[in-house]
Structure formats: C-alpha cells, structure tokens
Subunit: 294 residues, 2 copies
C-alpha cells in the first residue's frame, strides 16, 4: 500500500530538483499560522524536527551545530557583549547558547510568529528551554518594524531567519541591513544566516552584495548543517566599524569555558570556520556573477 | 500518474531512515556487474551522477570536494611523493588530482570492478580523464589481494572505497590496514575515506579503533560532501611512523600552485580540515562507545 507508506516520511523538496526525506515515528503538531505552515514530527534519525512551510528549520540531533555557530562566533569576537537581539529564532536554540555568556544582561527575541514559539516550547524543550529565562525579553513582532525603532542599542544582533521567501523575505534587503547596522552599539557585530553556497548560489551572491553596501566589514564563515539543503552552510560576520586586528583575537579564556558545554564549537573550529574553500570565496565575492543555470 | 513521476527521481535510501532524491534529466547507464549495480544518471542539480548499489559515489557538480581532499592533504604533507597507489576510485577523480603533483612518477589504480571504470570513461569524462595518462597503471583486481603482494612500495596510498558493505567490506579490516602499512615506504602516508561522523556513527568508531591498532599516528580530517549521507565526511590520515612535527608543515610552495586549479582545497582549508568539532573528536576516539540507538 504505497499511500500508507508515504505517510511515514516527511520530505523537503528544494527548488523542485532535490528531495530530503526523513522517516517519521510520529506526527506531533501540524498547524497553519497567519504566516506559514508549522509541523513538528518525531523521526527515526534526527529525533524531533521542526518544519516551516515544508522546510527543515531545526532538529533535536543536529541543532547544536547551527545554534552554536550563529552565537559563539560573534559573542566571543565581541569584547563585552551585554545586550543581544535575535531576530527570528523562535525555536529558542540561539537564546540558549547566548545565555551561556556571563556578560549577557539581556536577550531580546523578536519573532514574527508566536505559534512557532508555542510549538517549540511544547514539543522541543531541549531547544526552547532558555526562552523562560528572566533575562529573555520576547517580542512577537515583525523584525523589520522592530529594528527600525532602535538605534545604538544592541552589542550583537543575530538574524536567525528562514530562507528569503515567505515571512523571511524582508530580512534580506539593503534597508533592513541598514537598520540593523544603526541598531548596533559602537564595535557591534551582526551575524545573519546567509544560506548555502551549494544550494542557494543566487541567494548567497545577493546577500553578500547587499551586506557589503551597508557594513564596512563583511566576512563569511561556514559549517555543515546536515539537514539543510546543500548541507554546507554560511553565516555573514558583519561589523559596524572596519576591523583593525586579526579575526583570531577572540576571548580565549571564556572560549575554554564555553567549549565545555558545546558539541560542535571549540577554539580550533572558531578559527577554521573562516577558512573558505575556493568556490565559497568566489561565490561570496561582491563581483560574483551567478551563472544562468543556478 | 505517480508511477511516471517516480521514474524522474533517483533516490538513495540510507539505513531505511533517510532519503536523498535527485531529479533526473536522463538515465544514461544502468548495468549490473559481478559486484554491484552501476547507474549513471544526468540530474538537474548535480549534473551527471554515479550510483553503486543505489548509493551516490560521485557527481559532476560536487566531486571536486571529495577528490581534492582525499589527495592534496596527504600529497602536500609528504615531502616527495613519487609513487601513489589508489585502491578503489574507479571514477578516476583521485587520479586526476594526484597527477597535478610534479613529483609523481607513477599512479597505480587498483579497482575491483572494470565496469565502473568503463562507465566513468564513457559518461563522466571530466572526472575520469586522467585514467588515460601514461603515468597511470590500472589493475582490475581485488585491492585486498593486491596490497598483500607489495611491501615498502608506495609513498602514499589512498583507499577510495565504497561503504563497508558489499565489495568494500574487506577494506575496513585490521588485516587489510596492516598490509597497507607494510606496503608504504618509510615516511609513507595512507588516507582512507572513513565515512560520515553523522550518518555512520558505528562505522566511524570501528574504523578508528581498527586503524589505531595498526598505525602509530591516526588523525581524522573533515570536509563537507553535500551528496553523501550526513554530508559531513571524514578521512583518516595515517602515518607509517609516528609523526614528530606539526601537521601544518606542508609543502607551501607547491600548495600555492595546486590551489590555482582547485575549487575546494587551499592552504587555509588544509589546516582547517584538521580542526574537529567536539562531537567528531568524541566519535573518532578509540574509547568511544557507540550508543545502542546508532
């Protein structure tokens, strides 16, 4: 009975040419919010998984990679991060990692879709646990509006968005990036997820071209997220002012502490993440022209 | 008509819990050899792809990652590699990269399945082109027998095998590794593909436990191969004698030349590949116990 068999798999289809299928143990949650379709399923291989509009957002088994890499790289690069804003990130994974840093006074989370937060609180407690911490201030709002209201306010801003289609689209624009830059304190750092140099060649090129119009220093770094299309993933490390020293100047003493609780991040990984393969250097250059076939 | 639609996709199923689907433009070759099922298909995203027994072996679009990383890391770590043996690797991708090194006098390729070589010569010319080079000596034989006949013979040995099921199984044993060690010249280096720390937790643990019984120095290194299960891939860098210096002592002058023609490899990547995430350090340790759930 092929129909019955198909209900046991959750499949993400990427640009109608790639499919990623995950065998399901149990469907836990499936609702449509104002913004998107939200699904949480329990799978054999990756544990519980969150899908938004059919795309994998996070999984219990590999979420540590994405969440450690979007947080500890900028937080250990900043000399004293006290105030952090996360735009998107309703699953709470980035919040959990930010809270490991002793200098943190407040984490502001601005997530457009309250139903994502509720679903993650209920079904993904190992990821969302930090959302209940008293240092966390949650705003259920559009990040585009929220960021425009704040100037010189946050030491580090993390843009933990979906892909540049659907509700995440406005987070990949020049005007949004300008508002992010202006919301940073002097010496501030913004990191945004900047898609896959394998699976999103056109999107990566666009993001880096836009970012370099706004930030004086934009540096890609990379890690592997096995459940995302292309698996090879990038983030953009953007500084409000031009950087004078080497990137390897991180808070080493704190990093020693942090890496006791991480599963991906460590000091060697911190430096290695900025080593880019030739094809990633090329695809993140401002003058890169996307081939017509991509 | 769902049946017709399914013929447009080629799908690898991993351990009955993950599926990787690739939309097909054209089926080019499909034959069963004495050893395995061989398929070559042309896909929308990764170009032409080689499957053995339904598992992705290589693709035109991402093959450069695997082939550059299995070759240039050991060849640039060795002071003067003249003689190289490749076991497996019938697609010719590793041969092509080895031939870029000016010190090379001969490349011996020992592939068990002549039909793989013929299929790749015909349908994957951008990968297999080097197989016609006069410095290449091809043996259609079982690598297990071949390696037992050679002592102190090769400066670098690359074990470019399939997974440890089917024809590749005997290439993941202590007796095979001993014969590889003995076939190396003094100062020799063996690199074997050592599976995915994400998708092959049990296999990775076994490989590193076996290798460390045989080689005095075994060091994992990593890269991302988007079309392999788990995407996060490892190789074991094994030295015949215990190593005295830092791994960063590579032939830098030659590396500058090599990285002109590579798409993944460069000197920064060479060093970064040895930076292991915490979970990979753990899963490649000799005392790692595989969880029952893996």
């Amino acid at each position: 009975m092929p129909e019955q068999q198909e209900t046991q798999w959750m499949t993400e289809e990427h640009k109608q040419v790639l499919r990623y299928g995950f065998k399901i143990k149990e469907k836990l949650y499936s609702e449509r919010s104002v913004f998107q379709q939200i699904d949480v399923v329990d799978t054999d291989f990756y544990g519980r998984m969150l899908f938004l509009d059919g795309a994998v957002m996070t999984t219990e088994q590999d979420e540590f990679i994405y969440h450690e890499m979007i947080t500890h790289i900028p937080l250990l690069g900043h000399p004293n991060p006290e105030s952090v804003l996360i735009i998107g990130g309703g699953d709470g994974g980035a919040v959990r990692e930010v809270l490991k840093h002793p200098s943190i006074q407040e984490v502001v989370l601005c997530e457009i879709d309250g139903m994502v937060i509720e679903a993650c609180k209920r079904y993904l407690p190992s990821i969302s646990g930090g959302l209940n911490d008293p240092r966390v201030d949650i705003h259920i709002r559009d990040g585009i509006e929220f960021i425009a209201e704040h100037k010189n306010r946050f030491d580090v801003i993390l843009v933990d968005s979906t892909d540049p289609i659907g509700p995440g689209e406005g987070l990949f624009t020049e005007s949004f990036y300008k508002n992010v830059r202006d919301a940073l304190t002097p010496g501030g750092i913004m990191v945004n997820q900047s898609e896959s140099p394998i699976a999103h060649v056109r999107e990566v090129a666009l993001v880096y071209q836009l970012l370099r119009k706004v930030f004086p220093q934009v540096t890609p770094y990379i890690a592997t997220v096995p459940t995302y299309p292309g698996a090879y993933w990038s983030w953009a490390y953007c500084m409000k002012e031009r950087y004078q020293g080497p990137f390897s100047q991180i808070n080493d003493l704190l990093a020693v502490d942090i890496e006791q609780s991480t599963r991906y991040y460590n000091r060697q990984i911190h430096r290695a993440a900025f080593a880019l393969p030739n094809f990633v250097r090329e695809r993140t250059r401002t003058d890169f022209e996307t081939p017509a076939s991509c």
